[in-house]
Structures are given as C-alpha cells and as structure tokens.
C-alpha cells in the first residue's frame, strides 16, 4: 500500500487560508440515519484517519462504494483518498 504522502500533496494544519476540500464516507445506519466522516485529501492526518475508518467499516462487513455519478459507482476494497464520496452500506442478503 502506498503512503499518504505519495498520494496527496500535504498541507500543514496551519495553512488555514487554503480552501477546504471535504471528501466523505457516508455510512447508512438504522439508528442515526446517514452519518458522514469527512477528510481533506491534502491533509495526511485526516487521510490516515479516513483510511482507518474505511478499514474499520470493511472489518465490520460493510460494502464500500466509490460514487462515480448518478446511479454509478464502484465497489472498492482499498481506501482511495481522492474519492469524493464513498458510501458504506450493509451487505445484501437473500430475502
């Protein structure tokens, strides 16, 4: 797995004048409705936190999709820090 610093241009935490980029992992939950975890792909600390969150969701059995437009997406198994929007949802079972 490549490191965060190779994937993104790091931004120091004190570079507050930079416009914020918010990429999100949306988690569908019954109890709280949809909850979001967001990160700025230029901030390695946030990217690492998002990567950990992604791994935790995968370990819990969630399906994670990178949203690629209207009714389009891709099932992903590795965290992509550049994905604008990731959706995490429970796996389907036959009814």
């Amino acid at each position: 797995m490549s490191t965060t610093t190779e994937e993104v241009r790091p931004v120091r935490d004190d570079e507050d004048e930079q416009p914020t980029l918010r990429h999100t992992i949306a988690l569908l939950t019954a109890r709280d409705g949809d909850t979001e975890f967001s990160w700025d792909p230029r901030r390695p600390i946030e990217v690492n936190a998002a990567r950990d969150h992604f791994a935790k969701l995968r370990a819990e059995g969630y399906m994670l999709y990178r949203v690629e437009g209207e009714e389009r997406g891709e099932h992903i198994r590795e965290f992509d820090p550049h994905a604008q929007r990731i959706m995490a949802m429970p796996q389907l079972q036959g009814g």
Binding site: E70, E71, Q93
Partner: protein, 176 residues
C-alpha cells in the same frame, strides 16, 4: 425495597441505553446494551427487580409503561429524522428522471451493470422486478434494539448492488 437479581457476566450496571419491560411474573426486566456507531456489542437481560408490595409493583409498572412510551416516541422521532436524511441521500444518487419518479411515487428504473433492466419499488423486500420475475435481496432491516433502517437506505443498497455488480446481486437474491 425491591431486590435485584443479576445475571453475572451479562452486563455492567452502567448501560448506555437502558430499556425495561415487565415479564409474565411481574418482574421488571431491564435490557442493557452498549452501542458504538454501528454495532451492538452486548445485548441481554441484565437484572430483574421484584417488589415487596402491590403499591410498589403498580408504581413500577406505571413507570415502566412511561419509559417504554418515551422510548417508542424517541424511536419514532429518530426514525423520521433518519428517513429524511436517507431520502436526501437517495435523491442525490439518482438521475433526474429517477428523482422525478421518486417524487411521484413511481418505481425507479435501474440499469444493472450487466445491462439488465429493473423496476425498483419503494419497499423493503421483494421490491425488485425484471422480465416478469421478482427479486428479493436486502440488507438487515432492523437492529436488535428495534431501530428500522429507513426504506430509502435499503433502496440505496439495492441500487448500488445492481449498478456495480449485477451478477453478484442475482446470486444473492431470492427469485420468484
């Protein structure tokens, strides 16, 4: 004074979301569990309380009913809020045509990753049709503490399964 019977090893006294009910013997049973964002870590009967007088029993029964109603009201409010968010999320993922159909209460028309054409009805199960067949595949719909997934979240999971890996959806789904 009531006395408490505990089942060792089930739970710690500090529970994050207590609920209670009364069993057939008139014992007040407390259910306890701790929750993280997505998982129920423990669930079980942790202790019962038996009262020494009818007055205590009546008072506790009234309090139990009040707590139960309060919990049901909280669940309803939480579910409504979750549904509002889920509907916004679903809309944001649909084409304009399907947004219009959603608003009109019509079936959503989804093209699977392998080219199959599906009608997805607003529903939890058995709500997907294609070529005269009905498919039933859905995520778990209720948590152990009785919270239902918003139906729109179920639709999102079904639609993503169809548009990203239609063959896998067909392997999982029951067909009739």
């Amino acid at each position: 004074m009531p006395y408490i019977v505990s089942q060792p090893g089930w739970m710690q006294p500090a529970v994050s979301t207590p609920a209670s009910t009364t069993n057939i013997q008139g014992w007040e049973i407390f259910l306890g569990y701790t929750t993280s964002t997505t998982t129920i870590e423990h669930f079980g009967v942790i202790q019962g309380v038996m009262h020494e007088t009818d007055e205590e029993t009546t008072r506790f029964a009234g309090e139990t009913r009040r707590l139960a109603e309060e919990r049901r009201r909280e669940q309803r409010e939480r579910y409504r809020a979750a549904c509002r968010r889920a509907r916004e999320t679903l809309r944001s993922l649909l084409t304009e045509e399907n947004q219009r159909r959603l608003d009109a209460g019509l079936d959503l028309l989804i093209i699977g990753s392998a080219g199959g054409q599906y009608r997805v009805r607003h529903g939890y199960q058995g709500n997907i049709r294609s070529d005269g067949r009905t498919f039933c595949a859905h995520p778990r719909m209720m948590t152990p503490d009785g919270d239902w997934f918003p139906v729109e979240d179920v639709l999102i999971a079904q639609i993503f399964a169809l548009v990203t890996d239609e063959p896998a959806f067909l392997r999982v789904a029951n067909m009739s």
